[in-house]
Symmetry: C3
């Protein structure tokens, strides 16, 4: 298992980690790579690598779908500072399994791997295991 480290810059941010994961996986023998996010206010999605357009639209949509102005019943009681961050993370994936082909990630032609930060900026970790 490899532990990849990254720094996020914004509160809500899809950070492209395709190269980071690709380097960790490259040349290793195996059938697939499992990516796992050990955080509760972050997730992972595979989305389009077309500049920043799609990533920014996904960020804005997730902020809109989970509205911070809702009444968050447990925020006061238990001091939960950022309940919306947890819900946004729950709507993305905690693990994703990507097949390997010839020792490389079998991503589609337009796919990139994005770490989804919902409570940044922070230092974050992604675990990568090969099967």
């Amino acid at each position: 298992m490899r532990e990849l480290s990254l720094e996020t810059q914004r509160k809500t941010q899809l950070a492209d980690i395709t190269s980071l994961v690709g380097e960790a996986v490259s040349g290793q023998a195996g059938t697939a790579a499992v990516l796992y996010v050990p955080h509760t206010t972050a997730g992972i999605v595979i989305q389009a690598n077309a500049g920043l357009a799609v990533a920014r639209d996904v960020e804005a949509a997730l902020e809109r779908i989970v509205d911070e102005s809702w009444s968050w019943q447990h925020t006061e009681e238990e001091g939960e500072r950022n309940p919306w961050s947890h819900v946004r993370a729950a709507l993305t994936a905690t693990s994703v399994t990507i097949p390997l082909r010839g020792g490389e990630l079998a991503l589609g032609a337009f796919q990139a791997i994005f770490f989804c930060e919902f409570d940044g900026p922070r230092t974050r970790t992604v675990l990568v295991s090969i099967f």
Copy 2:
């Protein structure tokens, strides 16, 4: 493959199954554990283990994001009793793959595994396979 059984108590409920899964996995040799939910009105999420606060907020948010007052076109036609339960389940995961480290789940420090009930109370099953 192990089949874990649990009872849910409420219609919409994130039930912490971390100990249940941990015991099933503990000491087994392998690279990762795959959890699989064989139900269509339930799912699985990895979220914060900080008391009930986050779990209750995720429950409330999923009930809000998928509103039962929407017109559900097929409810009458085909007698579908709980279409919203299926949609809420579709927004969570059916499978999650968690790396193992020294024979234990490599969960993050604040992570718990939650079974997501969207049509309880019921008796439910989670499948656990080790790779």
Copy 3:
């Protein structure tokens, strides 16, 4: 790794691929099958096989949760034609891992595997790997 091909018919469509995947997997020795969607405007969900009712309700709900009338900031700038398709895909799964039992998918009694098209009609691919 097998590459399954399918044709979708509608813009937003849950297409039942249970038989297609079942045939690709049938009789193979292994612990689980990983399904992977190499597209950025499509995903995969496991949902109810009860006629078309549930699938149509999931389609309608995802179109409702991600509203095309929102202001999509990057649509004009970078010519992104279908930002909502990407967001809908991000809310579903890119990969799902299904345990095998006696060489067959260990799906629950009411489960079917659906390819989720969010920008159809198109010719699409699903990758299937056995562990």
